[in-house]
């Protein structure tokens, strides 16, 4: 677990990090501000994937569907209805959460790889519908030039909006993980049979995790609309889902902030390696292989192991 927001020492670090992130747009050129927005929203996407994956032990293998549906929800409300974009920003994630519930109800009966595969089939159905419903979703071209409120349409505005929303989302996710519900969820990850034997309705708890994950993926999708003003069906293709899983594993799927780090690494490597070579996928592949081989718990997981932090239960003392 990352340093807690709930104890004072941890809180200081969080505040320092937040202040630094707030000052970034005044120091760095526009491109890095944009890049940071992308990293933050991908990080949120990966962390929402990791909520059921790393903390719930659910094989959430097609998370991109919720991300894409959230983004499309927001985009469609903005472009097709006369409603305020601010309402769209809430509607998008809610649609994603609802989809999380529906797909969850269908998939939750299965476990592990079977769950993941059923989710992929269902997700592919959603993708296929979006991909061909030209009149409504714009088909494979997607929807472009989505207008967002002026205050968040500049790079800085979009960045601050992303930062604030991501910050709040992370705080909520963190509180969730530290709550009794979060503890139980981690118990389920480690041992579902045991969990049910201490009186936990395993499936219902997992279902809630899927809804929460769907919601925050939807939030990340909405942020993408704010930052890049476009949506397209690739956003819910299964390769993006695998990328999200990779972000989790690369950063450390048993740590809270690991997926954020994984997202940052992938975005950075992709952006900067591609300026040198067209073969950036090759470089990414080799890096993944090395990480799996030498850092099986991911980069952040490895750092935590290296620092040899005992589980911090000082907080638990009343």
């Amino acid at each position: 677990m990352a340093t807690g927001i709930l104890n004072i020492k941890g809180r200081i670090w969080w505040i320092v990090a937040l202040v630094v992130l707030c000052l970034v747009p005044f120091v760095l050129p526009r491109f890095y501000v944009y890049l940071l927005s992308i990293i933050l929203l991908f990080g949120l996407f990966a962390m929402s994937n990791n909520f059921p994956l790393g903390f719930g032990g659910i094989y959430q293998l097609h998370h991109a569907v919720f991300y894409g549906v959230g983004a499309y929800g927001t985009a469609l409300v903005i472009t097709k209805s006369g409603l305020s974009p601010w309402i769209a920003f809430i509607v998008g994630p809610l649609i994603a959460a609802f989809l999380g519930l529906v797909m969850g109800i269908i998939c939750i009966r299965l476990s592990k790889l079977y769950f993941g595969m059923l989710q992929i089939s269902l997700g592919s159905l959603v993708w296929a519908v979006v991909y061909r419903w030209y009149s409504f979703t714009g088909g494979d071209d997607g929807i472009h030039g989505i207008s967002v409120p002026d205050i968040i349409s500049s790079y800085k505005g979009a960045y601050y909006f992303t930062l604030i929303v991501t910050g709040i989302s992370l705080y909520v996710l963190y509180r969730l993980l530290k709550s009794p519900y979060g503890s139980v969820l981690q118990g389920i990850r480690d041992n579902p049979v045991r969990s049910s034997m201490i009186g936990v309705n395993v499936k219902k708890h997992q279902l809630l995790a899927l809804v929460i994950a769907g919601f925050f993926a939807g939030v990340a999708g909405t942020l993408f609309v704010v930052v890049d003003n476009t949506v397209f069906p690739d956003m819910m293709f299964w390769t993006l889902s695998l990328e999200a899983v990779i972000m989790c594993l690369l950063g450390g799927w048993l740590t809270f902030l690991g997926p954020m780090l994984g997202a940052a690494l992938i975005v950075i490597i992709r952006t900067f390696v591609s300026t040198y070579t067209l073969y950036w996928a090759l470089v990414l592949g080799i890096i993944f292989t090395l990480v799996i081989f030498f850092l099986p718990n991911g980069v952040l997981g490895w750092i935590e192991d290296a620092v040899k932090r005992k589980p911090n239960l000082a907080e638990a003392k009343e």
Binding site: L35, H144, G145, D228
Partner: protein, 403 residues
């Protein structure tokens, strides 16, 4: 310990990446090209790039533009709009390119176009064929350097309206491009020739490998002619199936770019004869000195024949160079003003960029595939030139879409 070392090396590598700056000198005009350089699209994108490269070398050999050298840098977006858009942003914001170009992917083209509009950055679209680029989503900063679906469809309709066929069937790849091409062809044909009827349609998913079921369905319906709206690798796949099932001998059909080198070259001598197609460029037609010179230069540089997209890349670089020269300074607004309505000599004769909608006015060649002893692949025979004025939508029509 080994892990710590690896970890440190890894982090240093990542940090190094972030702080690296590729060489940027004030004395160049830099073009940022985002395109797909992996997957089936490469057949077209590589030629566009090489055409651009050839023109760049020629321009620089003649002293560059306003004393500056023309330079370009490429990014492989792997046919993913989000990556493509991020790369375009990187090119403009970090690499500080002066002009954006590229992409065969309509999704990326539209996304980048929207970004270019915001940044007031000229963007030359190479080879994506969505009519939205200069139509519905058109704006001051985007230029379309190849035909779009509406144009291709109209050109085909012009040619088909002179043929005796009445009963048509439409089939194609079920994605935006396929539907757009089919709709454009059919809607225009209906207007140009009364009495044509549509017996039915079949659509298959993009990347479909096996066309036999559809072909049998079509054969059973017995149409006079089939409009086949395939793109990318679907072109070759369908031609193979048409040959294997004998469709090509039974019912004539048309595919946009069916007679183009990109479609015919990979099939070698096995491609079916008798397929109707439209294309905007052949290396063997027109047989003018300008075309011959271009083909020779291209072959010398890259050891292969140029495809239609090579012309696009080649002319884009020319327009960029001449645009700046005419503007007399490196300024986006002046550049756009200069290039609007500009006409340049090209391998296929003079080509102009229409001022109203920024569409390059290309001639279209209608023809049918046939074998030729000179080449070990099929070429287009019976070439019929359809001039821009005969098939391009009017400025009025296009600008109406922008409302």
């Amino acid at each position: 310990m080994r892990r710590s070392v690896l970890f440190v090396v890894f982090m240093v590598f990542v940090m190094g990446l972030v702080w690296s700056q590729s060489g940027y000198s004030a004395n160049t005009i830099k073009v940022g090209i985002v395109d797909t350089y992996s997957g089936p699209a490469t057949t077209y994108t590589q030629d566009a790039l090489d055409g651009f490269k050839l023109a760049t070398e020629q321009i620089n050999a003649k002293g560059g533009i306003l004393g500056k050298k023309l330079e370009y840098t490429t990014r492989d977006e792997k046919f993913k709009p989000d990556i493509g858009l991020a790369m375009a942003k990187e090119l403009v914001l970090k690499e500080k390119v002066d002009i954006l170009a590229g992409t065969i992917n309509s999704g990326t083209a539209l996304a980048v176009s929207d970004f270019a509009k915001k940044e007031k950055m000229p963007f030359f679209v190479f080879y994506s064929k969505s009519e939205k680029i200069i139509g519905e989503k058109g704006h001051k900063y985007v230029f379309n350097m190849n035909e779009n679906t509406e144009m291709a469809g109209r050109a085909a309709a012009v040619a088909l309206s002179k043929k005796p066929y009445v009963k048509y069937w439409i089939a194609g790849d079920d994605y935006e491009y396929g539907h757009a091409i089919a709709d454009a062809t059919w809607n225009n044909l209906k207007k140009m020739k009364a009495g044509v009827q549509l017996l039915g349609q079949s659509w298959w998913k993009v990347g479909e490998a096996d066309f036999t079921p559809y072909i049998t369905q079509i054969l059973a319906a017995k149409p006079d002619f089939i409009i086949v709206a395939t793109g990318g690798s679907g072109m070759v796949n369908f031609q193979k199936a048409a040959k294997a099932t004998g469709l090509v001998q039974k019912i004539p059909f048309y595919q946009h770019t069916a007679n183009e080198l990109g479609t015919l070259l990979p099939q070698g001598k096995d491609a079916p004869e008798g397929v109707w197609g439209t294309s905007n460029y052949f290396f063997y037609y027109p047989e003018t000195p300008a075309n011959k010179a271009f083909v020779d230069d291209f072959r010398k540089a890259f050891n292969r024949y140029p495809k239609a997209s090579a012309l696009v890349g080649f002319m884009t670089a020319q327009f960029i160079a001449e645009g700046y020269k005419k503007a007399g300074k490196i300024d986006n607004e002046a550049f756009i003003k200069a290039i609007e309505g500009m006409s340049l000599d090209s391998p296929v004769g003079p080509l102009a960029i229409r001022a109203c909608d920024h569409q390059l006015e290309l001639p279209t060649y209608w023809g049918v595939t046939k074998k030729d002893p000179k080449y070990d692949f099929l070429i287009s025979g019976d070439i019929q030139v359809i001039a821009p004025k005969d098939y391009m939508p009017t400025c009025q029509d296009v600008l109406k879409l922008r409302k």
